[in-house]
């Protein structure tokens, strides 16, 4: 303990002594950590659930706890005489409050029961939906091997405009990006596999680590002057492939070109790594199928070009 007034006492020293004191009292069993935990839990019981961060079960539990209306209001008071007045009031009003509380409790209990039943049904629906939902495409399930898009560089350079932003998704290690930049295209790329996007960025290309669908979802409508899709188009499940086309239609400016570089289904299992082929949630589509889907969306001037194991489908966003 300090012995004389210290004009600027040492906060750290005093706090260290306090922590020692706490440790000593805890070791002696005077104030076990479990009591602190109990205090936390005691207050947490009154923290409302149902906020954004809490789950449905917690919210229903909280509603359940709150459903019981206790008419035994606390009557203690530090002020003289007030406690006695409160006790008299409680006694006098008990018949009235009990009558109301019984009805309110019955209503609250019935509501919670209905909510619980609704929750159970919702859970069943969610389980069934989960079975129907396509498997997720996870970049971690694919080796970081850059696809060879070299044969299509000439076509891309020819189709893509020199004004406006162009996106290549997925851009791999940026080989096609480089050809396009050299040709004067204002292009950037996204690629979900870290090592590949790092390689592209290290080469001075504008490449971002992102999932193609998530990235396209965040792009402003009509912003893109051109779009090249590769890689992702081969692996995604059909609903996601359709979603990709819808996004392309939304994000491309009228008249802007779309180029889909896709692996042919018959060549796919031999042209990608076994890990990627086995764990992919979907399979490549035939180029004619891509053309059909584009035709049903907002695209025109659709053309297919074959090139060995891969093909390119080109189209223009309708005006």
């Amino acid at each position: 303990m300090s012995e004389a007034p210290d004009p600027a006492f040492d906060n750290e020293r005093v706090m260290a002594e306090i922590r020692d004191e706490v440790a000593r009292r805890r070791a002696a069993g005077d104030f076990p950590p479990s009591l602190e935990r109990e205090l936390d839990l005691a207050f947490d019981r009154y923290v409302p659930a149902g906020s954004v961060s809490s789950d449905f079960t917690e919210a229903v539990r909280a509603a359940d706890r709150a459903a019981y209306i206790n008419v035994a209001v606390p009557t203690e008071s530090q002020k003289p005489g007030v406690g006695e007045v409160k006790r008299v009031l409680r006694k006098v009003m008990a018949w009235y409050l009990n009558y109301l509380a019984q009805q309110t409790t019955a209503f609250a209990t019935a509501s919670v029961r209905a909510m619980r039943s609704l929750g159970e049904r919702l859970e069943m629906v969610e389980e069934q939906l989960a079975e129907l939902a396509p498997a997720r495409d996870d970049a971690a399930d694919r080796p970081p091997i850059a696809p060879d898009l070299g044969p299509w560089a000439g076509l891309c350079v020819e189709c893509l405009p020199r004004r406006g932003r162009v996106l290549h998704a997925e851009c791999g290690d940026g080989a096609l990006l480089r050809s396009l930049v050299e040709a004067g295209v204002d292009v950037y790329g996204v690629e979900p596999r870290g090592p590949l996007v790092d390689a592209a960025a290290a080469a001075g290309l504008e490449a971002w680590p992102d999932d193609p669908i998530e990235h396209l979802s965040a792009v402003a409508d009509g912003y893109l002057a051109g779009l090249v899709l590769s890689g992702c188009v081969d692996r995604l499940a059909l609903p996601r492939q359709r979603r990709l086309i819808d996004l392309a239609a939304a994000k491309l400016a009228p008249g802007a070109p779309l180029i889909i570089i896709a692996t042919l289904p018959q060549a796919w299992t031999t042209s990608v790594a076994p890990l990627e082929a086995d764990l992919a949630p979907g399979r490549p589509l035939h180029p004619t199928t891509w053309a059909h889907l584009l035709g049903r969306s907002r695209f025109a001037d659709i053309a297919v070009q074959d090139g060995g194991d891969t093909s390119a489908v080109t189209a223009k966003r309708s005006g």
Binding site: I18, E36, L39
Partner: protein, 362 residues
């Protein structure tokens, strides 16, 4: 063109509100500087009806600047942003919405709006004056290019009053029964963490002083939080030990400050923390959780905690209550710190800040 007037815009001007009082001080400084200065509000308390005008009565004048006292979301912010006059923002901080999300979602939304509004004003304000360095850092994060800090001006004249005799008498009788009195003054609000004070009281009564009492003064910002606090107090069987006094008059507040043994703040968010200065003014030793602007406001005049687990807070209260040397050091440090933040000094700081801004940016 040099400024001939600086008018203030403040969402609400009510008695004994720290920001309202600060605005009145700013007005007095501006008038001392020879400038015209009026206060325009959205909402005014009855005691200030002659001192403020409703904002929709404002008519622009050549050479006038506007200064927004920013502390909450308000429709005034949009009105202020659209005015053509050169603008200043005096930032008092907006409570981060996460404190209210679980308790009062609508209030949390208002806080989100408030923070967005203040961030938007970065584009139109010529300068942002923060009442603490902590707040200035937020202004910089919001994108303000020109900022400075001038402390909150806290007028202690509210304590130039005798204690309310009924409250003082009741507190005296409690003291006679033994046990120390712990005080915290501030709105009942999740970010002020009054529930942590109740937990600390449980620990303190169990470990050191079974007759200790906790006095919580201040109205409620969140009815849901206050209700939970009441239920928690009931569950811990502390109705005879915890006094939820609610909003109190100046005389009652004086009685509480004068009748307490220690001031404890476990608040998790303060843009400045005016009641800490009030505790210093009333000669109370302070124990405070070192969050947000609290360390900056108290300087070395508080026992600062980085851990507010109930056992640690209880041991800190016990230490301050029983170590007279430490207690004296804290009280004396409080007086020194208060002298540094004395109204004459904070007024001088604000005057220098305003003069510099008006000179440089006119």
């Amino acid at each position: 063109m040099s400024a001939s007037a600086v008018h203030q815009v403040i969402p609400s001007l009510v008695r004994w509100d720290a920001i309202g009082n600060h605005s009145l001080q700013v007005q007095s400084i501006l008038r001392e500087m020879g400038l015209q200065s009026e206060i325009y509000v959205n909402d005014v308390g009855p005691e200030y009806t002659g001192k403020a005008h409703f904002f929709d009565r404002y008519q622009g004048q050549p050479g006038a600047w506007l200064m927004y006292q920013a502390s909450t979301g308000s429709r005034l912010a949009s009105w202020f942003a659209q005015r053509p006059e050169p603008k200043l923002v005096n930032y008092h901080n907006v409570t981060p919405p996460q404190f209210f999300e679980r308790w009062e979602p609508w209030l949390a939304d208002e806080m989100v709006d408030g923070r967005h509004q203040i961030a938007k004003l970065a584009g139109v304000a010529r300068h942002g004056i923060a009442v603490s360095r902590y707040n200035e850092e937020e202004l910089i994060e919001f994108g303000y290019r020109s900022t400075s800090t001038s402390p909150l001006m806290v007028d202690m004249s509210r304590f130039d009053t005798p204690s309310d005799p009924t409250t003082a008498g009741w507190l005296d009788r409690q003291r006679e029964r033994g046990g120390i009195g712990i005080l915290f003054h501030g709105r009942i609000s999740p970010n002020k963490a009054q529930h942590d004070l109740v937990k600390a009281l449980v620990a303190y009564r169990r470990l050191y002083d079974p007759r200790a009492r906790l006095h919580l003064t201040g109205g409620a910002s969140s009815g849901t939080y206050r209700f939970a606090l009441r239920r928690f107090i009931g569950e811990e069987d502390l109705w005879d030990a915890v006094d939820l006094a609610g909003a109190v008059s100046s005389e009652e507040l004086a009685a509480y400050f004068r009748g307490a043994d220690v001031y404890v703040s476990l608040s998790e968010h303060e843009g400045f923390g005016a009641p800490l200065l009030e505790a210093m003014f009333n000669g109370l030793p302070i124990i405070a959780f070192a969050s947000s602007a609290v360390p900056e406001t108290v300087g070395d005049a508080a026992l600062l905690l980085t851990d507010k687990s109930p056992g640690v807070v209880a041991a800190a209260i016990h230490r301050v209550a029983t170590d007279s040397v430490l207690r004296t050091s804290l009280v004396e440090a409080g007086r020194r710190r208060l002298a540094e933040l004395d109204l004459s000094r904070t007024r001088a700081s604000m005057r220098t800040t305003l003069s510099k801004i008006l000179e440089e940016r006119s």
